[in-house]
């Protein structure tokens, strides 16, 4: 797990050194400083002493100081990945999306605005599945019909894209054959004109077969395939995808080394601008910090020049619903689950947004609306005016 990356842990560093120079025993031994210096040669600069100007002055005038914007240099650039294809490009979509292209960490707007706004896609499943009530209530009548479900997402809730999950192909669920699953993809392609992202069941063997059929029926549409991972026979599926017009999500479970490894493997088959990576995110209270930090580290490393990580990032924000606080009935003090659920999903999404994610897979209409509004506020909003908030301390609030 990247979080436990011991190389970044100071104490580990020291203890490693101590182990290496095994002659030092700390217990009850007085160590001579000079000896230690010889052995350790610390070389780590001591934090520069900060001047302490504490002489009390009689100040009658404001001491003016200019705030200088941070100085920073980023050498890496995230590749731009195009999803979907219009008629003129050989597909049938009404529009396409480009994600990526960043040269700055997420939302450093004082340095520049991200070149392509994040894309919010909504999840649709190829069978009626168990969903929390507060999501289900918006889709109850269309859950048997993925095409209608997709339509609802686009037309009523403004989904940029649809993530169709072919969960019924799971050998442990319905074991739907690939050819039948592919038919559902065709139906959804007919029903909506936004670009599609097609997901499998997570079974590494079955997904290979399903994906082959899916890319065949969606030929030319430049769909996003969700996802390839290290458990799959890449020499089979990646080879198959090599000359198809399809974009790939490379999924790794919160582990930067694995993310690099998978990307490098995929480079043998597809060009970089056909790879989006999903470093995995978990909801608040369910490992969010791991997902957040792996994502943030991936993006910062990419911008510092790590060429194996310079891909747009996909975030499965729907994972937020795994948190019980998002859907169980709790003591009335904690409010109705109908509001806790979207709160959970939205805040998980915002966490990914601030870590650098580009592509969001989400479910609840209100979460999606809020995310879109925040993105708009950040990318297009106007500067704050002092008078709007200057008197908050003395305002009577409702």
């Amino acid at each position: 797990m990247a979080e436990n990356d011991k190389t970044e842990v100071l104490s580990a560093k020291i203890w490693d050194l101590l182990k290496k120079y095994g002659e030092i025993v700390l217990e009850d031994v007085e160590i001579e400083v000079d000896e230690l210096e010889l052995i350790f040669q610390p070389g780590v600069p001591v934090a520069i002493a900060k001047p302490v100007a504490k002489a009390v002055e009689v100040v009658k005038k404001l001491v003016e100081e200019k705030f200088k914007e941070p100085e920073m240099e980023w050498t890496g650039k995230i590749v731009e990945v195009k999803i979907g294809a219009t008629k003129s490009e050989g597909g049938t979509r009404d529009r396409t999306f480009i994600i990526g292209g960043e040269t700055l960490p997420a939302f450093y707007m004082f340095k520049g605005i991200m070149p392509h706004p994040p894309v919010i896609a909504m999840d649709v499943f190829d069978m009626k599945i168990k969903l929390p009530k507060s999501i289900r209530m918006h889709f109850e009548d269309v859950m048997e019909d993925p095409a209608e479900w997709a339509k609802r997402c686009v037309e009523k809730y403004g989904a940029d894209m649809i993530n169709l999950h072919l969960v019924s192909t799971d050998p442990y669920i319905k074991d739907t054959p690939p050819s039948e699953a592919a038919k559902v993809v065709e139906e959804v392609l007919q029903a909506v004109k936004v670009p599609l992202c097609i997901g499998g069941s997570g079974d590494p063997v079955k997904d290979v077969e399903v994906f082959k059929k899916v890319v065949d029926v969606a030929e030319g549409e430049r769909i996003l395939l969700n996802s390839l991972n290290l458990d799959m026979k890449l020499e089979d599926i990646a080879e198959y995808l090599k000359n198809k017009d399809v974009v790939i999500i490379a999924f790794t479970p919160m582990d930067l080394d694995k993310a690099r490894e998978l990307n490098r493997k995929l480079y043998d088959y597809v060009s970089k601008d056909r790879i989006v990576m999903d470093t995995n995110i978990a909801g608040i209270g369910y490992g969010l910090e791991y997902g957040f930090t792996v994502m943030e580290r991936a993006r910062l490393a990419a911008l510092k020049g790590d060429t194996d990580l310079q891909h747009p990032i996909a975030a499965g924000v729907t994972n937020a619903w795994a948190a019980r606080e998002a859907w169980i009935k709790m003591d009335p003090f904690w409010g109705p689950k109908e509001i806790r659920g979207p709160a959970w999903e939205t805040i998980t999404g915002l966490t990914a947004l601030l870590a650098g994610a580009d592509y969001f897979m989400m479910m609840h209409p209100y979460s999606i609306r809020t995310m879109k509004e925040i993105i708009k506020n950040l990318l297009e909003g106007s500067p704050g005016k002092a008078e709007d908030i200057y008197d908050w301390v003395s305002a009577k609030l409702g």
């Binding site: 400083v33 001047p51 506020n377 106007s382």
Partner: protein, 478 residues
């Protein structure tokens, strides 16, 4: 320069080197290692404080160990809350240190009942998450009346009815003075000095030795000018509020300001930015149109972004549990030390009074997994054995694809836990999320595997339906 580890040798050099153990460590070197890891406090080395000959070393050490974002302590008679004290911009560079406290506001036009209601909300808010108590932390008293007497009375009333430290909020120095006079003990944060009142506010802070917040919405030049002026005047502790704008008209300004200030403090050693940052999502109640639910929603959303983007203290107005529940959990997550996995000891846990035919269940050793699963089992009054495999502190759903829950490890834990002597059957119930591993676990362990429910809350039902003598017999014979 981004934060760099201080060498423990540098620290060791300045310690008394007598190995007197008064700090609780075996020797000075061990203390030095703990110091640079922020696992102990310099002041625990009492000789350093008490003996005149170490005075210089003490001061040098203090300077050396001062974080780029200074730590400010707020106190009531009963509680201490620390803000700031941060070393790094990104948590993976080290760890974040002090989770930002959340202050619930009250104002001096509220009735006693209302004050009590709000105080009680803050005091009684408590959520247990992986064995920790998540709470709200401060009360912010605002002067809406702008009347010194009214403010003084309210501060007095609040202080005598809460255990939490206070933030005193008014831009009127006369009102502030009255508020401070009602608080002979404790150490509140004074909010705030502005371009209009800084001289008088600084006086109050100086006279009473209290930390003073600087408020300069949307104007960072003024913010740092004020900070510099106050520090020059001798105010020893400050905090910075660059303004929290909610929504289209300024959210961007706010996120930029917090990001720039923290960057300057951590990566450019810019002293004036090196103080705790104050976020006031409460402004949603002014800036957002709509009903109170809508305002509360946007207050929560803004607060969540500020928890991620470097706020060290948040002042809020909502009185809804759902607003704060995701925030305190998010805060806990983000401020978890990434150097330590949130894991519990792998091994065998006995729940209830199991016998030799009781179920044996497997799960991972992610702390949250353990607390939830064992909680569900206990709630369902199931007597059983729970085996925690070493998944390196990762949740089962990630451990399966991440290959952290390996059949061989399961075989290992079945052996080392001694469970084979405790039960007669050889049936292992694995999490529904690990269904994929069922066959491999059977092969590796020789036990029969029963795939349990996807969610542990269904365990009691599952056991009731599946764990029957005839089923057990059938499974063992098949």
């Amino acid at each position: 320069m981004p934060w760099k580890a201080i060498s423990p040798i540098e620290v060791y050099k300045l310690l008394p080197k007598t190995n007197c153990k008064k700090c609780g460590e075996e020797n000075c070197m061990a203390f030095a290692v703990k110091l640079v890891n922020m696992e102990t406090k310099l002041e625990l080395c009492t000789p350093l404080l008490e003996e005149a000959k170490y005075k210089k070393s003490y001061e040098q050490l203090k300077e050396m160990l001062t974080p780029p974002v200074r730590e400010v302590e707020l106190r009531s008679d009963k509680k201490v809350v620390k803000i700031g004290g941060e070393y790094v911009l990104h948590r993976h560079e080290l760890t974040y240190i002090n989770p930002p406290p959340i202050a619930i506001d009250v104002d001096d036009t509220m009735s006693k009942e209302e004050l009590i209601k709000r105080i009680n909300f803050a005091e009684s808010f408590r959520y247990t998450y992986i064995g920790r108590q998540l709470t709200l932390d401060l009360i912010a008293v605002r002067s809406v009346s702008n009347d010194p007497e009214a403010f003084k009375k309210t501060v007095n009333f609040v202080a005598s009815n809460t255990s939490l430290p206070l933030v005193l909020c008014t831009l009127n120095p006369k009102v502030m003075e009255a508020g401070v006079s009602a608080l002979p003990n404790g150490k509140p944060l004074l909010y705030a000095a502005t371009k209009d009142n800084w001289m008088e506010m600084a006086d109050i802070a100086l006279k009473n030795k209290l930390p003073l917040a600087v408020f300069s919405p949307g104007d960072l030049d003024m913010l740092v000018s004020l900070a510099k002026t106050l520090l020059n005047m001798g105010v020893s502790e400050i905090a910075l509020d660059p303004g929290t704008f909610v929504g289209f008209n300024g959210l961007r300004t706010t996120i930029d300001a917090f990001t720039m200030l923290r960057w300057k403090a951590c990566n450019e050693d810019y002293d004036l930015a090196g103080w705790p940052l104050i976020g006031t999502p409460i402004t949603a109640w002014k800036m957002v149109d709509g009903d109170s639910q809508t305002k509360a929603w946007w207050e929560m959303i803004t607060a969540s972004m500020l928890i991620i983007r470097y706020a060290d203290l948040l002042i809020m107005h909502s009185l809804e549990g759902w607003v704060y529940l995701p925030l305190v959990m998010l805060r806990f997550n983000i401020y978890t030390d990434p150097r330590k996995p949130v894991a519990v000891e792998p091994g065998l846990r006995i729940i209830g009074n199991p016998n030799e035919m009781s179920p044996v269940m497997l799960t991972g050793n992610f702390a949250l997994t353990y607390y939830i699963v064992s909680g569900d089992i206990e709630a369902g009054k199931v007597d059983c054995y729970l085996l925690l495999a070493d998944t390196e502190g990762i949740a089962v759903e990630c451990a399966v694809p991440g290959r952290k829950l390996l059949p061989d490890n399961v075989a290992e834990i079945l052996k080392s836990s001694g469970i084979e002597k405790k039960v007669k059957h050889r049936i292992l119930i694995i999490p529904g999320k690990a269904a994929r591993l069922a066959g491999d676990i059977e092969d590796a362990t020789g036990w029969r595997v029963l795939v349990g429910p996807l969610d542990s809350k269904d365990i009691p039902k599952f056991i009731e339906e599946k764990w029957k003598p005839e089923n057990i017999k059938k499974l063992m014979e098949s």
